[in-house]
């Protein structure tokens, strides 16, 4: 396991502990589904490519029929069972994927550039704004991310590629690698 503690670079990289995550698939037009997931997380239902996150809770728009529900890790299993019960009457699927995902938080002045080095995403402030959710690839692996604010971004990917992602981020945030592209 590549160790992130003690890493000093262009941004601080931290593996987020105790983040739970459910995958919910279903019809976004269904009032039952919307009420169930917003009731669980206490945030508004997200529009297209939007991340509504407050602390450890939130809703991420993953595709036209897929949501990611963020919860504290300890609540995830029970919440999945409860949510599946609430959605029993509608066409929907709930899976607890907390163990299958890993979350990284990167924080610092050059967050946009660190992401732009790894993902085919236009990170210009005019194109990508905090609160937008983007699923893409980082290097060779699938990942999703959103920016909480101008200095902070959350990146999540499969736990099976955790070391690869940690390696990518540490290389992209190497102290001597600043391009300063977005500061022009």
């Amino acid at each position: 396991m590549s160790d992130l503690s003690g890493f000093e670079g262009l941004v601080a990289i931290r593996e987020v502990e105790n983040q739970g995550m459910l995958t919910v698939r279903g019809d976004f037009g269904s009032e039952v589904l919307r009420a169930a997931v917003t009731g669980l997380t206490g945030v508004d239902f997200p529009g297209r490519r939007v991340a509504h996150v407050q602390g450890a809770r939130g809703l991420l728009w993953m595709s036209p029929d897929e949501l990611a529900v963020l919860l504290p890790r300890g609540e995830a299993a029970q919440a999945a069972t409860r949510l599946a019960g609430q959605l029993a009457g509608v066409h929907a699927l709930v899976v607890d994927v907390s163990d299958a995902r890993v979350h990284f938080e990167i924080e610092g002045r050059v967050v946009r550039e660190t992401i732009a080095k790894l993902a085919p995403v236009d990170m210009h402030p005019d194109s990508f704004t905090p609160g937008e959710l983007r699923r893409t690839r980082f290097g060779q692996v699938a990942a999703g991310f959103w920016m909480a604010d101008e200095r902070t971004a959350r990146i999540f990917c499969f736990r099976s590629v955790r070391d690869y992602m940690a390696g990518l981020l540490t290389v992209a945030a190497d102290d001597h690698s600043e391009v300063a592209y977005f500061r022009k």
Binding site: R48, R49, M62, S63, P64, E66, P120, D122, R134, R135, T136, R137, A142
Partner: protein, 112 residues
């Protein structure tokens, strides 16, 4: 480098975020069809120089299939639309006709 706008999630996705799915608007021939129809369904594909319709999947993004109309020579993209569409939408049809008068592809053809 190709850049397609995914009609499902609205992202301007570049080629490496997508995976190609071959020719679009195939008509499936299954059990009970003639051997010639089945062979055509399995193997006969267009290989045009110019206007082409292809299936693409936003594999690293929302995971949805869509269809892209593009020119294989200039790589100009005429438009994209969801894969749950049996023929190109009127506006894409018209846009191709405007830019490539007299175009044809499979059994589709634009006005000269």
């Amino acid at each position: 480098m190709l850049i397609f706008n995914c009609p499902h999630c609205g992202v301007a996705a570049e080629e490496t975020e997508l995976s190609g799915g071959g020719e679009a608007h195939l008509k499936r021939f299954g059990p009970g069809c003639s051997d010639a129809d089945f062979e055509g369904y399995l193997f006969t594909r267009e290989n045009p120089k110019g206007v082409h319709f292809e299936r693409w999947r936003h594999a690293f993004g929302c995971g949805k299939w869509f269809i892209a109309a593009r020119d294989t020579v200039t790589l100009e993209v005429f438009g994209t639309y969801p894969a749950q569409t049996s023929e190109p939408p009127r506006e894409i049809f018209d846009r191709i006709s405007e830019k490539r008068p007299g175009w044809s592809w499979c059994n589709l053809s634009g006005e000269a």
